[in-house]
Symmetry: C3
Subunit: 341 residues, 3 copies
């Protein structure tokens, strides 16, 4: 059970209700009336908890689990312990997500405006927003309805946020236009000037960075991630794109719709990703590249060239994954020969 | 045109004036009287805009551009569309930078001292400084004339900044001596103790970190970058050195003059870079190395040994770039053979 | 001598006293009465300073050093310049650390509660804590005795910290239970939701992140490092574990006791490290791995598989270090052959 100091639980729910809201199918419809109090991971779930099995690594733990019910796919049915009610879903993790959302709905924030917040009189801040302590909102800022702004966050002059944005503490925003329902975690930096200068014997000549950052609806930006504003064009994050912690997005980068960027990835200036691109952790990309729709870049790869839509690349410099695996195998075989020749 | 919510434009300027201030040469001197309103990238520039061509990848876009004028080098002259006035410069990007600076001069900040700033009475803060909301300036701090300090920034006891520094929001400074005209972007952390301890069965023994961070004039430090103070020696960033976002600089590191460090690079303790060293994104360097003047380290490289002045290295472990390219080629050739032998 | 603007020095101390507190042995017991004023690095130490030699790279500097005394191991005795008193220790760096702690003890903070701090009435904050300017402490937070909280730091509802914690400026904490004597450097983010969602054509479905972050006693977390809370299990950092700057710790990660993680390392969700694991800079680890006690991961490695206790791995994908060295050697030999075959 989640620590009540940090989380408020709803429920209980019947399995029938959970099946309905998650789109899962009850293996045994007679389980529909059973009521559950909570969600929990495999290893710690008890008879009143709903769990899930998603990763084959955990099949043994699943078979030993004391959970009363579980979201699983068809193939895992025969691994279930006796008495466990099964919710069959093609994507058990998604089914579990829906159930967990029901048990732990977002806390409804009471609108509040901290007395210590400094809000410029020309800023537009709807009365149903929640503005934390020591927040600074500069001239001309426009917030949408129901935005929640965490303590010590600074929103620079002219920035716009859509409805229902959730901005963490200690965030810095400037030169940006942000859509609705966007989540920005603590320490995010958006809109500072990009790394733009021309070398010169007298010292680098800085290029004024005259673009903005445009963030699409429903995006989610991780803690301490940095997104520089464009130099002339805008830097763009497409709707529904998920960016993890400590990611660097250079100026003029364009990320399409529904992209996923794992932690510590870095995208150099003016590179453009299509839609639904998946970027692994610590991936680095050179500047001015094109990455096609649905491409996948394996973790820690260094991408120096364009990547075709739908392809998977790996390595540094990144190559198609089949070629990468062959390179690895050859190198290991050579190294294992006695004299290495 | 840059979004007027975020940028204030000056001008218009005649091409003759732009040629003069940028050191460029008008291909056709008769264009000198033509007046321009703005700068813009190739793809969106119109007849009243000045643009530039710097990267051969964009020659086609250049040939189709509607821009009224462009900074180009000699070789691009015959690619220009009809009617475009040409400003010839050996480094078109630098010429454009000068023009853009003229159209978008830094906003002159009105001196201001936010009522919510907490400034220790022993700190020296000239009256022409701009001190943002909720700034904290501790005992003995000394700021130079015309410094601008963003909201929610904390300057720890005894720190010094030279004239005309620009410090973003949510920055933390301590144990540092910072030169003139230095720019620190949001979320920068300077002066915290480095990663220093001796392992011990009873738990690590921490070594007091007794040095400082010294930052030279005209340096620029990117968002969320961290620079630890020295352990006994100082950590030093030379004048005119440009550091991008999310870079880690360990204790006792010395960066020379005019170095360029791209995003997410990391330099381990006590490594010393000469002048004008270029470090690509996500490069990692071991500790206690010497990197000679003018060396170049390709992006994502892992540097385990000293690097000679003027050389270019690549890979992990990093080797001279010619050797790296050969290694890549061999591996690809082996992998493409049918049986991989 | 450390800059008195930033550091307060104690002493002087006799060598006998320094030998006693550090566990070192005086090579010449007659030196016991000599008194010293300070510690300093080899290159700048003078006759009144104590220094150390730890890294063989600096033997020449040691032989030329003007320091009056030095911590060294037995093997360095004959490299010492004439007249230098020698403190013999199996781990000279640790001996020096103890001496430096004596000369530069932690500043005893006067308990203080900044008027601008916003402390919820339901929070428990002992009167001997030092609470900086603009700190925000939300409902139900519990601080241990003598905690020091830096300016502009935000501690979210329900969080707990043990005694004698030292939290830097501009830190964000939530959903966490933190032990005693933990040090959190500026810009640390602890407790934000992890990167958890299930892909869906209608946009990613977020999984409520219902766990916490548990930090053991005596841990040390570097500037701008991010530690996500667990998704159901907790994210755990064991006691005495040292984490450098800009490190990413994903949800459900477990770090054992006494681990060392260098800068910019990243550990993906649900990976578990045993005790005393050493992780080099910029290492990336995939999710759901097991890393055995005492394993060592070389800098910049990409770890895709479990690592056995006590082993050392290197490369991307990481392999045992002997195999890695062979791979490097083979590749270099092939590349140096005239035709590369």
């Amino acid at each position: 059970m989640a620590d009540p100091r940090f989380f408020d639980r709803a429920g209980p729910y019947s399995l029938a209700a959970l099946a309905e809201l998650s789109g899962a199918r009850l293996l045994d419809p007679r389980d529909g009336e059973r009521r559950f109090d909570d969600v929990a991971p495999l290893e710690i779930a008890g008879p009143g908890d709903v769990t899930f099995l998603d990763n084959r690594k955990y099949v043994d733990a699943f078979s030993r689990s004391r959970a009363g019910a579980a979201f699983v796919d068809e193939r895992a049915v025969d691994k279930a312990p006796a008495g466990m009610a099964l919710l069959i879903a093609p994507d058990p993790y998604k089914g579990f997500a829906r159930a967990a959302q029901a048990f732990y709905p977002d806390r409804a924030a009471a609108p509040r405006r901290a007395a210590s917040a400094i809000i410029d009189p020309t800023a537009s801040v709807p009365s149903d927003c929640d503005i934390g302590a020591h927040v600074v909102i500069e001239a001309g800022v426009r917030l949408g309805a129901r935005c929640r702004i965490g303590p010590n966050t600074v929103i620079g002059a002219g920035a716009e946020l859509g409805e229902d944005c959730l901005v963490g503490a200690n965030v810095t925003l400037s030169h940006c236009i942000i859509g609705a329902r966007v989540v920005l975690h603590p320490g995010v930096r958006i809109g500072q000037p990009g790394f733009g200068f021309a070398p010169d014997p007298q010292g680098p000549v800085k290029i004024p960075q005259l673009g903005r950052v445009i963030i699409g609806d429903d995006s989610d930006i991780g803690a301490n991630t940095t997104i520089d504003r464009g130099s002339g064009h805008d830097t763009v994050v497409g709707p529904g794109t998920m960016i993890d912690n400590l990611v660097q997005i250079g100026h003029n980068v364009v990320l399409g719709r529904g992209c996923i960027l794992a932690g510590q990835a870095g995208i150099s200036g003016s590179t453009k990703l299509g839609d639904y691109v998946m970027v692994g952790g610590q991936v680095g990309m050179a500047g001015h590249l094109r990455i096609g729709n649905g491409a996948r870049i394996a973790a820690t790869s260094g991408v120096m060239r364009d990547v075709e839509a739908g392809s998977t690349v790996c390595g540094s410099p990144a190559v198609p994954i089949a070629l990468f695996m062959k390179q690895v195998a050859i190198l290991q075989r050579l190294a294992k020969k006695k004299d290495g020749r």
